[in-house]
Structure formats: structure tokens, C-alpha cells
Amino acid sequence: MSAPQAEVALEDRIAKKAGVPVDDVRDVFAAYGLPLVVTPARARPLRLHRLRLAGERTGDVQPGPFDTPLYFSEGLTAFVASNFRGKSSVLELVTWCLRGTWRDALQTRVRHWLRHVDLDATVAGTPMAFRLDLEEGEIVSAVVLTGPDITALEEVRVPDPRRGITPLLRAASTASYAEQIAGLMLGRMDLQPLLNSRKETSTTTHGWPAYFGAIYLPTGADKPLMGDVMTDGLPGRLLQVFLDLPAAAALTRVKTVRDVRVAGNKARRKEAEAAAAARTTERNRLQDELGKAQELLASLSPIGTSDVSLVDLAHTAMDLAQAVADAQDVWEEADRTFRRARTERQHAAKLLNDVTESATARLLFHGLNPTSCPRCDQTIDDERRREERQAHTCAVCAREVVGDDEDPQAVTAEAETRLEATTAAEEAAKTEREQARTEVRRLTGQLEEAQAELRRAQSAADLPARLAAHEAVLRLEGALSVLEAPQETPPDEAEEKAIRILDAAASLLDGDSKATAAKLFEEINDEIASLATGFGVPSLQSVSIDRAARLKIYPVGSAQEWFQGQTAGAKLRLRVAVAIALLRIGRRNGVSTHPGLLLIDSPKSEEMQSADAHKLFRELAAVAADSELQVLLTTADFDLANATLPKDTIRQAAEGAPLW
């Protein structure tokens, strides 16, 4: 797969799959600095040569100054010492030098003893001297030197250009050293930061320390198969990088870029939709205002009276107003006349009542003989009554009765005639009043019409208002024409194309990777099973690892298990088996990119049976001897080490004595 033809073809394959010209593919990849030509990863072996620790020990065990060089074998090196005698510190200090940061296992007390920590190592073929000067457990000065060969760097702590010893970095603090080492090692080991898209909007980057997890095997019971970080699919990434599955790193980066870009595109579309909605709202508002402005304009427009003279209309209206006033006068006069006539008639009616009643009453009382004097209340005697009848003298006052000089019938008739006359007069006045009222109404109607016409005609005089309204209509129409109706937001073609290209690239790279992985993994699975069995993992029939570094285990005669479900001891042995399998199969297929260095701290403490520990130690020694694998191992079990390991691989302190 690393044949140049295939790599050159990649851009063509992407272009074809995405349906775009090759140039577009190049543009997109160039824009993100993505490699189109996937070169095979360089071998990146890490080899430790020497660790020197100098300083002054305090406490009960051999207090005083020390300056100890520790040399590493090519294959296995086992540090054997009693507990708390510096075994683990060796691995932690190597880690500090190479990773840039120590792990929690490095005791603060130990750090405070140290003045100098020197490590000589070969990094991907480059001899490097790591020189750390410490005070109070922190770096005060550090330098990484390189030189012609690893032995030339021994004992050197400062650059010596004459001997070809030059600095690769300088640091004056713990933090600065950590940062610079991470950059230096990524570059020297030809590794890319492990990118991960997070929530499709940003990326997280895992640097050199994450890679280092594949070297320093974790011992914790629940740690992942590869490395010491569970999240972001890192175990799978590490597996792929150290197996150099074709374009594994490139695939990761392409996928990440694609995810971020898709998310960005989605966000932009959402934004565009919001803008379109705002535009629609604005359009509706303008439309509404335009409607109102048009209505106003229509109300101000003159209606077909432009040919009638305003003056004529005004004259007519004035004449009519005069006529109405006159008619009003006439009506008022008629009304007054009517009221007077009515009063007359009422008087006449009353008079008629009076005369009728009086006449009737008079007749009534006339017919009654007086019986008593109203004055003295004495009875009128018969003599007086006879006198009245015969001599026409009043029976009451004895004066002559001259008789009624008026004819009551005539009086009543006169009153009746008067009532008739006044009634007729009232009727006539009423009719006249009605006529006058009708005339007033007629003229008032005419006047109102004339006035309405005058008002309409006057609207012609509203020219400025009409012009303003017209202008408002035009302005709103203009605003509306500029503010076009929002259309379906056109897809960003360039963006879509880029995403298409990235999709195609991801799909192709994934396919390539899968195809190769399928073949490689078969071999690796066999190798892991074989190694693990050798290390003492019980009754193992077969294993199956996938690209996400999930390991399935098929024990003999029982159901499939997962790596996660294994005991801590089994986990450790499986991890070692995986690392060695990667190295071996990788080398066999020319894709070995594992640094070939394993740090294993006190494997026996991981719930391991003594017999299993023996097996593991023996096998490790054997594998290290013929696998270009350097293994650093620690144990407090002197017997175990001496029984299983070659003498030259053991760095052993006296029991109870410090290792350095």
C-alpha cells in the first residue's frame, strides 16, 4: 500500500468518488494541510542507553550524596530491589525525561533528592542526551543535546559544538520542559497530534503524552488495552498509529476536518434561515405600511370634481345656506303662529267648558228654590218665595228680579263658534308650519350635498398632503422592491463540494484502512493468542482485536469475554502480548511503527500467580532477545528474577539497599 502509484492515485480516486476535478481535491486538502500523498510512517524506535541519577539522599536508607549511572540492555533490563528502593523511580524518571512529565507514582521525596537526571537515548535513530538540573524537585535548567553517536554524549551535560554536540532544546522550568519535549518528540517520532472532533464544533488534541501511554504499560485494573486514556477512542488510535494502518492518521484528520466543516455549514445555514425569517418579517411590515399609505393616498384623491369651479361651489353652498336660514325663519314664524293658534283654541275650548258648565249649573241652581239665607242661615219663608214668584222680588234679598239679560244658548253658541274658528286657525297654522318644515328639510338636504361636494372639491387643495402620501407610497414600494422576497437559501456550493470531497476522502481512506486491517488483524490475533498463552493467560483459544482496540477473548470451552472483564494480571499479560504482536507482525509486513520500548512496573504485584510470573518473565526475556524490543521491568522478587532472567539483564541491589 505504500507503493507510490497507489498514493498518487488517491487524489484521483477522491476526485472521482466526489465527482469533482482533481484540482478541487488538491485545494481542499491544501487548505487544511492534509496530506494527499500518504507516505509510510518512518520507523520510530526508542532505545534507552544510560540513566544517571545524582543528588543527595535523606532519610534512613543510605543517606548522603549519590551519583549512579544505570545502563540499559538492548533487550530486557530488569531492576530488582526491595520495595521502596528506587525501582519504580527509575521508570518514572525515564518517563519524565522522555515524556516531559512524570506520573503520579514518582514520589515528591525522591524528586527532592535529585540534582541531576541524565538520560541517554536514541530517538528514531537520533542520539539524544536529556540533561535535567533540579532544585526542590523542579527543573531549573534542562537541555536536550544531540551528537554524532550515543557514546559520545555520555558524561556531556552542555553543548560542545567542536565535538558536534548541539542543543535541541533548552528549558528553564518544569512546565517549559514538558511543553518543549512534547513538541520535540512528536517531530522526531514523526507523529501527528491525535485530533478529535468534539460535539462536531471543536477539536481536542492529544499530544505526545497520549502516545507515551503505549510505551509505559498501565497496571491499573480498569485501564484500556492501549495507552492510559480511555476517552475519544484513543486506544484505537494508538493501535492504528503503531500498526501504521494505511493513512490512519490522515483518515483521522480528514474525518475531524469534515465533522467540523459539516457542523459549520449547518450553523451557517441556520443563520441564513434566521436572516431570511427576519427579512420576511421586514417585508411584511413594509407591505403593511404600503397598504396604509395607499389607503391614505386614495382618501386624499379628488373624485371627478376637478372641472367644477371651487368658487362656484362655494357660492352655491353660501346661497343654499342663506336659503336654509330664510326657510328656518319662515318655519319659526309658522311655528310661533301655530303655537299662538293652539293657545287660542285651548282658550276657546276652556271658555266653552266654562260657559257650558256655568250655564248648566245656573240652570240647575235656578231650578232650586232658595231654602236658607246664606248669610244668616235662616229659612226662607213661604211668603218670600210667593213674592218672588208673583212680584218678581228675590226670595233672599227682596230686590226686583229683572231676569236673565243674556241668553245662555247664545253665549254657548258663541263660545262654540269661537272654538270652531280657533280650531280651524290652528289647523291652518299647523299645515303652514308643516310646509315650512318640509322646505327647511329640503333646503338643508341640498345644502349638505353642496357642502359635501365642496369638501370633495377642497380635497384638490390638499395637494401637498397628497404629494406627501404619494411619496410615501413610492418610497415604500421602492423599499419593498429592494428587499426581495427571501428565497430558499442557495446551498453554498463550494462548501458542499468541500464536504463532499472530505466525505469521499474519509470513505476511501477508511476503506483502504479496513481492507488492510482485516488481513493484518488476522495475523495479529494469532500472534496475541500465542504470546498470551506463552505468558500464562489460561485456556485461551483465540482472540480478536478490532480497530478500536477492543479485544475479544475466546477461552477454551466457554463464552466469549472482553478484555475489560479480565483480571489485572491477565490484562497486563494481554497488553504485553498486544505490544509485542504489533511489533512482530508490523515488522513482518513492513509497517512496524511501535517504538519497541516497553516499561513494565512490578508485574508480579498485579495479582499474578508465581507460576504465571515465571512464564511471563521467561517469555519476555526470550521475546526481547529476538524482537528488537527493549523492555524495562521492575520486580522486588529476587528469586523470580534470578530464576527466569539472564544474568546480564538484571540490575540488582542488595536486599534492603537502594538501587541507586
Binding site: 287660542e344 285651548q346 282658550h347 276652556k350 266654562d354 260657559v355 231654602t371 253665549v411
Partner: protein
């Protein structure tokens, strides 16, 4: 006869002696009550069939008879106080007609309210042997006038009701006035009439003005209210 006033503003007595006599006779007949035991014993009252007491009462009842606008106004008061539709109907019948104009004979405002000089009319009734008037009290101060209806007076009243349609109006109206007055004494009627500002505020000795416009306004308002808030048509 003294009726040459047509067309002129009424001056002097607005009614004739005989008119007044008939009206008062009808009123006394309607309003009279049985005689007391001591009265029955009086020889002069042998022919008496009933008595109407106090001149104040006679004057106040006569005021309503002579002023249909005040009568209608009082009927409206009654309607407002009791809600009796019949009172409103009577008032409406008066105010919708020309009675307040045609049947009005104004009275003067006196010490004790409306007053008309009735002695002439009463003397007609007395000399014709229809009533007897008695003054009660001391020589110096007349406390009360009582009007006794004589048997002959009652016969004449029945004759009028039967044979003189010209007085039908008064026959009817006396009924309404007496119904409105009920058991009230003269002073109580006086108090009722004094509650009307136009009546109370008229200076002594002057004619009490018409309130027909005001009464018609009240009627219209009441009708409007009935139309708005439901209720019968009036």
C-alpha cells in the same frame, strides 16, 4: 255671567260662581263622612247625611281638581313610591291630553297653601239647601269649618251625575282625587303639595304657576326608563 275673558290673560276669579258650586258639591259629596253622635243630636243637622271636615282639606282637594298638572305630578310621585302601573296610566292620560291647558283654573298661594274664595259658591249651595256650613271654635278664632251635606244636596249630586254630562269630567276627576288623597287629613295634603318647589316658592298672594312641562318631562323619563329596563308599555 262673567265669561268675557277669552283670549285675554285670566284676571279676577277664573271660574264662575255656579261652576265652583257644582265642583265643590261633588267634592263634598265624595269626601264626606258620617256625622258624629253629638252632631246627630243637633236639630239643625236633622237633614244632614254626611260631613266633610276642614276648609284646608277642601282647598287642597280642590287644588288638584283645578290643576291637572299638579295632580298628574302627584300621581307620578305615587307611581315612583309604589310602582303601581295604574297611577302611571292616570298621569299619562292627563299629561298626554290638553287637560293641563284646558282644565286648569289657577289658585293663589295663601298662608296655608293654595286658596280660592269659596264663600260665594258655598252660599249658593247653602241657600239652595244643599249643604250647611258650620264654623267651630271661639268667636275670635275659627278653628275649623265643617261642611254638612244635606239630603237634598245628595239628591242634586245624583241628578248631576245622571243628567248633566257637562260635569262628567268633574265626577270622574273627583273620584281620582279622592282616591289619591286617601285618608290623609287636610294638613297632610298641604304638606304633600308643599314638597313641590314651584308651589312652595310661589310668593304669597300670587298665582301658583303651571308645572305641566316639568310633569311631562318626568313622564317621558319614566317611559324611557321602562323601555330600557323592560317593563310594560305605558
Amino acid at each position: 255671567m262673567d265669561h268675557n275673558r277669552a283670549g285675554a290673560e285670566p284676571e279676577g276669579p277664573p271660574t264662575s260662581r255656579e261652576q265652583d258650586a257644582v265642583r265643590l258639591l261633588l267634592l263634598i259629596d265624595g269626601a264626606c263622612e258620617p256625622l258624629s253622635v253629638p252632631e246627630l243630636a243637633e236639630p239643625v243637622l236633622q237633614q244632614a247625611v254626611g260631613v266633610m271636615r276642614t276648609q284646608v282639606k277642601l282647598q287642597k282637594l280642590d287644588f288638584w281638581l283645578r290643576n291637572p298638572d299638579f295632580l298628574a305630578n302627584e300621581l307620578l310621585n305615587g307611581y315612583e313610591a309604589t310602582g303601581e302601573g295604574e297611577l302611571l296610566e292616570h298621569a299619562a292620560a292627563i299629561l298626554d291630553s290638553e287637560e293641563p291647558e284646558v282644565r286648569r283654573y289657577p289658585m293663589l298661594r295663601h298662608h296655608f297653601g293654595a286658596y280660592g274664595w269659596l264663600d260665594d259658591a258655598l252660599s249658593v249651595l247653602r241657600s239652595a239647601g244643599l249643604i250647611i256650613r258650620q264654623r267651630r271654635g271661639t268667636i275670635d278664632r275659627v278653628r275649623q269649618h265643617d261642611y254638612y251635606l244635606l239630603q237634598h244636596g245628595r239628591q242634586v249630586v245624583q241628578e248631576i251625575i245622571r243628567e248633566a254630562p257637562a260635569f262628567a269630567y268633574y265626577v270622574d276627576r273627583v273620584g281620582l282625587v279622592l282616591a289619591l288623597a286617601g285618608d290623609r287629613r287636610g294638613s297632610e295634603l298641604k304638606d304633600m303639595q308643599y314638597r313641590i318647589p314651584e308651589y312652595a316658592e310661589t310668593p304669597r298672594g300670587q298665582e301658583i304657576r303651571s308645572i305641566s312641562a316639568k310633569a311631562r318631562g318626568r313622564l317621558a323619563a319614566l317611559r324611557q326608563e321602562l323601555a330600557t329596563h323592560g317593563g310594560g308599555q305605558v
